[in-house]
Symmetry: C2
Subunit: 484 residues, 2 copies
Amino acid sequence: MNIDSFIETLALGVARERILSSDAARAPYECDGLTMFRVRPKLVVLPETTKEVSHVLKTCKAAGVPVVARGAGTGLSGGATPHADGVLLVMAKFNRIVAVDPLARTARVEPGVRNLAISEAVAPLGLYYAPDPSSQIACSIGGNIAENSGGVHCLKYGLTVHNVLAVTVALDDGEVVTFGSDAPDSPGLDLLALIIGSEGLLAIVLEVTVRLLPKPEETKVVMASFDDIEKAGAAVSAIIARGIIPAGLEMMDKPALAAVEDFVKAGYPLDAEALLLCEVDGSVDEVADELAKVEQVLRDGGATELRIARDDAERLLFWKGRKSAFPAVGRISPDYYCMDGTIPRKHLAKVLKRMAEMSTEYGLRCANVFHAGDGNLHPLILFDANVPGELERAEAFGAAILELSVEVGGTITGEHGVGLEKIDQMCAQFSSAELAQFHALKAAFDETGILNPGKAVPTLNRCAEFGHLHVHHGELPHPELERF
Amino acid sequence: MNIDSFIETLALGVARERILSSDAARAPYECDGLTMFRVRPKLVVLPETTKEVSHVLKTCKAAGVPVVARGAGTGLSGGATPHADGVLLVMAKFNRIVAVDPLARTARVEPGVRNLAISEAVAPLGLYYAPDPSSQIACSIGGNIAENSGGVHCLKYGLTVHNVLAVTVALDDGEVVTFGSDAPDSPGLDLLALIIGSEGLLAIVLEVTVRLLPKPEETKVVMASFDDIEKAGAAVSAIIARGIIPAGLEMMDKPALAAVEDFVKAGYPLDAEALLLCEVDGSVDEVADELAKVEQVLRDGGATELRIARDDAERLLFWKGRKSAFPAVGRISPDYYCMDGTIPRKHLAKVLKRMAEMSTEYGLRCANVFHAGDGNLHPLILFDANVPGELERAEAFGAAILELSVEVGGTITGEHGVGLEKIDQMCAQFSSAELAQFHALKAAFDETGILNPGKAVPTLNRCAEFGHLHVHHGELPHPELERF
């Protein structure tokens, strides 16, 4: 395909100034939040209307050109890493809040709207949007849909998939369809849930209806210090076992605390081996009751110090520390690698202990920050890419953590997605029959494979090379599905 | 295909005595809970093991024989209506609770386990399984998965899809795969959510991991009488608007109350135009606080009488009335037709008023029983099939209710599924592009269309005949997808 004639065709349906082809214009789009992968896209297109998106898709499908959608570019698994021969579809101009219905408690928004902007817009109505990734100031709701994003409050209020009622999407051929509805359930196959977390492989999101929640009457957070990380892990299980689902239940270990406190001055104790932040919300009575129970469980679990945020300002400061953990660690190490394994909560203590041993084995520091209540770990492996061998050791350490997660019955990703980063680990997570089913599904949406090729679901060939696939008599199962 | 040689082949992998071919043996399986559709299946097979299920599927796929799975046969939309030329796969022998993990709060069960049997088995651990369809004494968890079943407690605790962590299924070719995991989110496409509510079109469920919840410390129910059904509808919206998510929020109108009270003696007031049952659960303090708020909202909304169940026995009696509404109505009318439309909650009052008008227009009584908090209506249209024209009027009245539901932004089914019953209304609910996408998905799982053919998703041809499809230049869109 001739690039000039391709641009001509695109320009029949999209304003020419929003098709970026110069090196300078394309450079800022080389990577998303996973900066170790960098690819300059052939073209960057910034559509403004549904019609323009449909036109781009039709044109790309006809020419067999890959299309990668990008929201705010904050993703951590390379889901929006561009394709060198493809179009990067930047959805930033889809940034309108279309409608808010305070009675039905829903908002219809375009995919480029920032996560936090929704809660800000509906705050005067006493409402908010619950899923709150740490990047919520910047990340877009379209990206949240692609990754099924979580956040500190997802333990009680669910992931993106539990808080979205409907999506309107463009299919690979530009056709526009809507899945889900304002009603609690929708007839037909559940394509809404399928779209959420599909990492740009199935369709391009054009509009999203989210569920809003009433702001709780009262919110309190308690901070508990522990002199032993396994005790902190056990206390997490004990809180849940007591029948309490806190609004947030987060944990940080000593290296993470040191980095954060130096950066944010959140008032964290520097002598603790581990810190738990536990938030409870609800009516005034409910919060008082739950808080008393949580304090009791934490004391019984061996907490050395308990502090309840004295007011909302201090509460937000406690959370600011947690939410700033990634940049804080970035200040104390030239490089870091953030993992996202999720494990059954009951194995928390065991896995924490094993990770500490691995840290010694691989000779790399590791700061732990995680959604403890969910069992979603975010170990940050610290390394210096300029020291020969450290990057390789960091990658090996990371892979070992993910494989440990699968081994104890967990998964390789909690909320950051597979993207490019964890595609090999998918071979450890799934059987070839399961991967073949993913490919069949993908083909049902995008038979020619133009949408975000090479991401999220590995080909069976790739798994065979990675060494995890069972190959029978030298033949791959389902070779006809090796399309992507 | 010769039936005897087909049975021979089946018997290579399934004990002969569990392949039923005689008229007498097949007769009890002619219908599910939607008794107006009756079809005698060619064969009934009762497998006992995964290997047997795989063998049946492989054999049927090779011979092009349809397979319809059946749980307890309580479904209300004909999802398990047999196929005259097919095998009815009765999963009743898959009835073991395989494992309970009280710490992770999960249970692994086979699909034939009854919904209520799960809660009974884990009651000694202080746990229960939340989704509670009215048929929970009889219905199976496999059927709950097929229909994404709800129940009176789903307003607060979610539908089946929110309470299932993983499913192991057999695909059309007998291959066994697992979707989901014990972790809160799972990488890869969300095939777990896709399977749930897929009405037997995609796979046969072999094992289910469900989430268990701790039994609340306290549960209270308040019964509120209204002299006007629109006031009751408005009170439902007002409770939710007050920031309360009750554990259950159910409504019955006067005809339903009369039928139920006569049958169950639940102590319902017979002079009320509408009754609300509102349950709150949680800690003792939380319940006291929420109950006070609910009472206030109900009083402000014009409730003429409020009664709080004085003990657990009375509370269960209040609910027994609600859960017995269908059989109660069966006692006062030779026939009834139960609808399952779902509407945005804010339109409750308006839709109730319109349904009362329709009742006059069609000359048929209608008793209303519904999950008011969810906006999920269960109008029971009373008729006598022996009176010429009444069945047709009942069907027309029902269709009009469903179309009204779609018109106000709702859907044609809340929890009973589409099955055979509402397949034409799917043409009103979805565009041809959306239906084509459902067909593509179906083909990705079951290319030859042997699993539950003719259910849930109408062919585009059928929609064209039904008069709802936009046909362009006399040609159907996507004729290549007209497979099922």
